[in-house]
């Protein structure tokens, strides 16, 4: 058998969506470009806002304006189309774009004028501000670490919401509740599977099966979200190794 022959049953490709915001942003189809921008905004607006607040020490109002301006500039200056995956990963590129925007705003010492094709985005800055208040800040965090952690948080939040939606659709809300208990609330740390089973009125083996199901869904959702936010297989792999391998707590 050749050394390159896969294990029996091994899939040739990881079963993930190959759609990427970077490719979609270059699409001739306006709908596809808009979809790319919406996806990007969904994943990145909180990391950008928090990054501007914490790293650049802007107040809430300034940070909200700069976050809005960031996405306006992204569209106006075709920044996504100009992104070169061979030179940087998308996350780093966007952070550097945010740095440039803040520095330019500081230089001109005036708020940037919004305009162009995008109306002000409907972003819930109050929620983001509330999350910031709950965040214990590590003094040693550099800009890259800070932005990476907030992007991972955004990614995981989207993953959790997708799992919740899937479980709701498939009438498996109990699966989600058990996942929430173990992996989000962390409240099952001192509980046995018997304890959790009694609490939810299911067998201990069901607890393990439900948890495994929800975790599998979550893994799939997170990797799909990450796939969307990367331009190449190599970038995807490096991002996954870094973001999913980060010691975040």
């Amino acid at each position: 058998m050749s050394e390159n022959t896969p294990f029996p049953g091994a899939p040739q490709h990881f079963p993930l969506t190959r759609w990427s915001v970077v490719e979609a942003a270059r699409s001739p189809d306006a709908h596809e470009r808009q979809r790319a921008l919406d996806t990007l905004i969904g994943a990145y607006w909180k990391p950008i806002y928090k990054y501007v607040r914490l790293h650049w020490r802007k107040n809430a109002e300034q940070a909200a304006d700069l976050t809005q301006d960031f996405f306006v500039k992204l569209l106006e200056k075709h920044l996504l189309e100009r992104f070169d995956p061979a030179r940087a990963r998308l996350r780093t590129y966007l952070r550097l774009c945010a740095d440039g925007l803040v520095m330019n705003a500081d230089k001109s010492a005036q708020r940037l004028k919004r305009g162009g094709p995008l109306p002000p985005l409907s972003l819930d800055f109050e929620t983001a501000e509330g999350e910031l208040r709950q965040l214990p800040l590590a003094a040693t965090d550099g800009p890259e670490e800070l932005f990476a952690r907030e992007f991972a948080r955004s990614l995981f939040t989207r993953g959790v919401e997708r799992v919740r939606a899937h479980c709701t659709q498939q009438n498996k809300l109990l699966h989600f509740r058990i996942f929430e208990l173990y992996d989000i609330d962390g409240a099952a740390k001192d509980l046995t599977y018997d304890d959790v089973g009694r609490r939810f009125g299911v067998k201990p083996t069901d607890v393990t099966n439900y948890l495994a199901f929800a975790r599998r869904e979550f893994r799939q959702c997170v990797l799909e979200e990450l796939r969307k936010m990367t331009a190449t297989d190599d970038e995807f792999r490096r991002e996954a190794l870094e973001l999913l391998g980060l010691k975040l707590a």
Binding site: M1, E3, N4, T5, P6, F7, P8, G9, A10, P11, Q12, H13, F14, P15, T127, E131, Q134, L135, P136, R149, A152, R153, F156, T157, G159, V160, E161, R164, E180, Y182, D183, I184, D185, G186, N209, A212, R215, R216, F218, R219, Q220, V222, L223, L226, D233, D234, F236, R237, R238, E239, A240, L241, L244, G245, L246, K247, L248, A249
Partner: protein
């Protein structure tokens, strides 16, 4: 919208990274370590009712370079049935698409931790010989390890020595080639740090133990491993060892770690033979001796006989002396 604090972020990260063992005969017990290629987990084999170690690649690379390397590693270890090489039990693909293999669970210590218990150089050299034996066996099967270092050797509870981490290993040829150069590994994962932890992880070579040709990404052969063995010998001679290393041993180490492969030992067997000679008090190839030193060594090796001879001569002389008085 769910708020995910830092602790939840870490729990979710672990949930993503943990192998999905549903549909297999294994139950996850815990994580043993993390290397550049992926994680190693302690799992229970429900069918055979025993615990084994499971190596699984990182979640993002199920069909990529790391998956290919894991597959290669499993197959290489499987062809190396030797008491000094951890045996592979099983392999397959998890439901999440990640390939894995299981191997004997080694409940021991890494060599770099273990040697602190054994400061005597002779004890350390005996361990070194067992490592060399496993590496020589691999070379005879046409396999280069390419990442020999103290963190990749485990010493088990009964003193068994196991060479781990064959993730960078390379098959020279299907025939039993020894010094046939193979091209360097072009790896896309070069940013990963060297492995630490259990010694089960995978790296692209460890600084301080990589031969110059490996560092320079030039073709490597069995003498590349010999360089790494020489660097391990240096570690064993210096790290907490009792007293300074004898000159002959230092000469062996220098010869094994010569800059140019042609100046090194050409086989692991030659290196091991020199170590055995040293332990037996015999001259070693790496340390040519002058006539005086050779004579002194002869005297030291035969001191019992010489002592008897001396006693005989003295007694004989005394007898002659007393008879002639």
């Amino acid at each position: 919208m769910t708020w995910i604090d830092n602790a939840a972020l870490e729990r979710l990260r672990l949930a993503v990274d943990s192998p999905d063992l549903e549909g297999t005969r294994y139950t996850l017990i815990g994580k043993l370590g993390q290397g550049g290629m992926g994680g190693v987990y302690r799992v229970a084999d429900r069918q055979l009712e025993r615990q084994v170690a499971m190596k699984v690649i990182g979640v993002a690379d199920a069909a990529g370079e790391l998956a290919r390397r894991l597959l290669q590693e499993a197959r290489i270890i499987a062809r190396l049935e030797h008491p000094g090489i951890v045996p592979v039990h099983d392999s397959g693909t998890l439901r999440d698409g990640r390939p894995y293999y299981t191997m004997k669970l080694v409940e021991g210590q890494r060599l770099d931790e273990y040697v602190s218990l054994f400061p005597a150089i002779s004890d350390r050299l005996r361990i070194f010989l067992r490592i060399s034996d496993a590496v020589a066996f691999a070379h005879a099967r046409g396999v280069l390890h390419r990442d020999l270092n103290p963190a990749n050797v485990m010493v088990g509870p009964f003193g068994e020595v196991l060479v781990m981490d064959w993730g960078l290993s390379r098959i020279l040829q299907d025939s039993e080639a020894s010094n046939t150069p193979v091209p360097p590994l072009q790896d896309s994962n070069a940013a990963n740090p060297p492995s630490a932890g259990t010694g089960h992880g995978t790296v692209l070579g460890t600084p301080g133990y990589m031969a110059p040709e490996q560092r320079a990404a030039q073709p490597v052969d069995s003498r590349t491993d010999i360089y790494s063995l020489g660097a391990m010998l240096q570690f064993l001679l210096t790290d907490g060892a009792v007293g300074p290393a004898p000159r002959a041993l230092l000469a062996i180490q220098r010869k094994a770690t010569a800059e140019h492969p042609g100046q090194r030992y050409q086989t692991v067997g030659e290196l091991a033979a020199d170590i055995e000679h040293f332990l037996d008090g015999l001259p070693v190839r790496a340390y040519p001796e002058g006539p005086v030193r050779r004579a002194w060594r002869w005297v030291r090796r035969n001191r019992a006989w010489l002592l008897l001879l001396l006693v005989y001569v003295i007694v004989r002389a005394l007898l002659i002396y007393f008879r002639t008085r």
